[in-house]
Subunit: 532 residues, 2 copies
């Protein structure tokens, strides 16, 4: 409650509107033709033409792209075989739980020592509202979703060089930046600096807009007072009974704010992929992979390490080491193939892809990144600091701290994303042993949350450039504009798919959209070929 | 994933930071003394001194304020009796479910015809993160909370006078306003209009900040392109496979944006009480009231209509009609009394409060507001428009449409807050019969969601100025600054409490903080008196 209406109408206007309402739907429909800004290209479940009788498709890799290809092609009537290197499906859609062990490249092995029911998503951890494709598969497969809090006004922004290294609440920087730029723009507008760009009416609207946007006072100034404090916080917040009246807090002066550099953290939640609502599957991201694997059942053959890919006019033949059978060599064949093996791995496999595609496979490199999950005995960020979900941004090597968007207010141990860093930082992190990565993450985190060392329970780290089955986090192109068309095109009987072959790299949605486009073309090719 | 780190350090810096980390906690502690902007005055469970032997407190009203007073005073050793007019506890903390009937002032009676498990909160519906008090009672009473999506970038802002009455996605207006004001301020900064206010370094920081904040291009311009589209949406969003490359969308020109007036909707999520995270109890807001009522058990006497309040040196005596007993008159007494009856009702009761308090009771009026809950057979806002929770703002008489923050992607019917209006609009709304309110709400809503008429299943409306036990939504003061002290002060053996006696009016948190302050003073008074 407590929001005043900014709508007031006379009874006559009111009744006029009643009358007007009738034809609204029709009017709306007509105007539906006007240009709108779209959030996704996904337009509902794919409709594939029926497969030619007895056509088999071999799918390499049981990640999101591979399993979607397998499910949809199976439903279209294709015979399906999926080869997966690991003993579980999902690829980067991965969740670590109590008892799981993980051996990274180089031999470091970690065992997850979390409390029962707690988990950590080393890879994808968010499903933004505009990722219609993966959301639709969650709906169709019955994967339960819950909101993930991306931006928490009450979490921190932090820089070792600002405010003596003291973290500041996000809302203080956000409110003061909005307020100060609105104040500045109001002043120059009043001074006529914009007269050539704006009409008088524009200027009036702009000033009114800035007043709301920046919490300016009636003189269009952003100053310490209740208007500013109603956003950034108070010296004494509004209360009840005696002394209930609020006392405003001092705003940051513009130079201090600008000098802090913390304004660089204010845009994350504005990006299409970063704005609320964002979801997470209840219980861990791999609930999506599990639902797909269950749907495919024994069509997925696990622990098969592909060593050679060949194709000719008659079909595709793939040789693999069967890790289920002491690595014995085996060969399987099909009419067509969907290859979702990351190029970082495919580049090491003996294949006969065309020159242009081979060139992309050889030149694509994979991003380095690291995530460290920390479990704490007490949810001090909630109990002591009233932070429920969301993210703290810092220029410490940990880059950010994200708080769990589940089990709020519970007395169970909680798992925090204690570090999520990229590039050089990720390499430096992974150059030390997992126990040290965790220890240092706790040390750095303690600059923001001094409770960390005392409350620490367990930790685990995944450096993606050390993950044996991807050797990196996502595919980075040498020259995407020049290479893209060659890489996504069908190479005779084989088509490649995955996040690396999309413009939503590193997102599951990229894998979904890439896979759907790939099988649409594979299906057309197969039908045309059968028709000849 | 997919966020580039803006942190890069050399290995030396990296190791330096490792060393620096050690003393961080201590440093942080020291700096904890520095001024911070506070979000709440609540500082944990109230600690009351033990009650004087055999002291009884009578609590009038089993709403949030009354039940908190009863629980805490009971735990401090007071004998407690609570008189409640209705047959359920909670007051405005109220949830309507299938089968519930409600008769408003004037005789209109409605029966809720929702699907099993669906509900509507006519009163409070949000628990913001900064309402530490009510959140702590949820924790202590085991009330399960889930996030409520307040702002949804993908919901609409709408004006009958803008864009031919066509709704526009919130993110388009939000991105374009941020972009254009950042662009304007960058230009005048470059032109030197701010030279007197800013140093060269300030200007560089400001330009860098505006570039991020407004999604400006490298020339500090906000123009149609992928930078703007990555926030507002695309003509063709980033996809996968062939045609995966995005095509940018056209931004709104500044005059069109300003003329639309839709920028007036962009600040809601910036207010302390409106920014994420915000919660709702799973299953309905009255889960909080139920937990408190269960905790109090038979200390609460239902269906007792207070008719007279008297006090003298020996104690307080209250007369009431016992609606459980054909309205037979009865009287009960106690040493002290906490009166949480809304002043709109109290002003009609025979009491002997002091002159100044009586003056406040007589002059406080209660706000008019209306909420209309609409249940639809199909969750078209999710299925057709990809809106998961959040709020659409409009200048239609419905003022806003809020989408359910639960059962996302399910095929169950969903309940939408179809209208939430205040003041004149609320009176106009309530001047017509409930069925007409619902019908017109659907008509107006169809200007934004043409699917509404076809998908409509059931509706219910609550006009707060017609609610028999409050006669309004929240208390509005004639002259708060002058009257507040008199109203919150103990009047001999009676103290009043509730949202109306706080600076968080209309919020449950106001009732919590008012109640805690009131019983703290009542306790001191009782102990002092007993010591004499």
């Amino acid at each position: 409650m407590a929001e005043e209406s900014n709508t007031t109408t006379s009874r006559r206007e009111f009744l006029t509107m009643v009358g007007a309402a009738g034809g609204a739907a029709a009017m709306y429909q007509a105007m539906g033709m006007m240009g709108v800004a779209h959030a996704s290209t996904y337009d509902g479940p794919i409709q594939l033409e029926r497969a030619p009788e007895g056509t088999k498709v071999l799918v390499l890799g049981a990640g999101i792209a591979g399993m979607i290809a397998a499910m949809e092609l199976r439903d279209a009537g294709y015979e399906i075989e999926v080869l997966e290197f690991r003993d579980v499906a999902g690829g980067r859609c991965w969740t670590m739980r109590a008892g799981d062990t993980y051996e990274e490249l180089g031999g470091f092995t970690q065992t997850v020592d979390f409390a029962e029911g707690n988990y950590f998503n080393p890879g994808p951890w968010r499903v933004p509202y505009n990722h219609y494709g993966i959301l639709d598969y969650c709906r169709r497969l019955g994967v339960e979703l819950e909101p993930l809090i991306q931006i928490n006004n009450h979490a921190y922004v932090h820089s070792v060089d600002a405010f003596d290294g003291k973290p500041v609440r996000y809302r203080e920087i956000n409110s003061d930046f909005r307020g100060h730029i609105s104040d500045l723009l109001s002043k120059v507008t009043d001074q006529g600096a914009l007269d050539e760009m704006l009409t008088e009416e524009d200027k009036e609207n702009l000033l009114a807009g800035l007043r709301t946007f920046g919490a300016l006072n009636d003189d269009n100034d952003y100053v310490s007072g209740n208007a500013a404090s109603s956003r950034r916080g108070y010296e004494r917040p509004p209360g009840g009974g005696v002394d209930g009246a609020p006392i405003a807090n001092e705003i940051l002066d513009l130079s201090t704010l600008l000098d802090s550099g913390l304004w660089s953290r204010l845009a994350t939640s504005e990006a299409l992929n970063g704005s609320m609502p964002i979801f997470q599957p209840k219980g861990g991201m791999d609930m999506i992979a599990r639902a797909m694997a269950d749907n495919l059942g024994d069509l997925v053959k696990y622990r098969k390490r592909v060593t050679q890919i060949r194709q000719d006019e008659d079909g595709v033949s793939v040789t693999y080491e069967d890790l289920e059978n002491d690595g014995a060599e085996a060969t399987t064949s099909a009419d067509y193939c969907v290859c979702t093996i990351p190029f970082s791995i495919l580049s090491q496999i003996d294949h006969d892809f065309s020159g242009p595609l081979t060139n992309v496979i050889q030149t694509m490199h994979y991003a380095a990144s690291i995530k460290v999950g920390l479990e704490f005995n007490r949810r001090f960020w909630e109990e002591d600091e009233h932070i429920y979900g969301g993210t703290t941004y810092t220029d410490l090597p940990i880059s950010q701290i994200s708080y769990p968007s589940n089990d709020y207010l519970s007395d169970k141990p909680g798992v925090v994303l204690g570090a999520y860093s990229w590039g050089a930082l990720a390499y430096q992190y992974s150059s030390i042993e997992p126990e040290d990565r965790v220890r240092r993450t706790v040390e750095w985190g303690s600059q923001i949350h001094p409770q960390m060392p005392d409350e620490f329970k367990a930790g685990v780290s995944v450096a993606w450039h050390r993950v044996p089955w991807t050797l990196g986090c996502y595919g980075i192109w040498q020259d995407k504009e020049a290479q893209y068309e060659d890489a996504v095109a069908m190479d005779r009987r084989i088509v490649c798919a995955g996040e690396h072959l999309s413009y939503l790299p590193a997102w599951m949605e990229g894998a979904v959209l890439s896979s759907l486009d790939a099988i649409r073309r594979l299906n057309e090719t197969a039908i045309t070929a059968a028709g000849e």
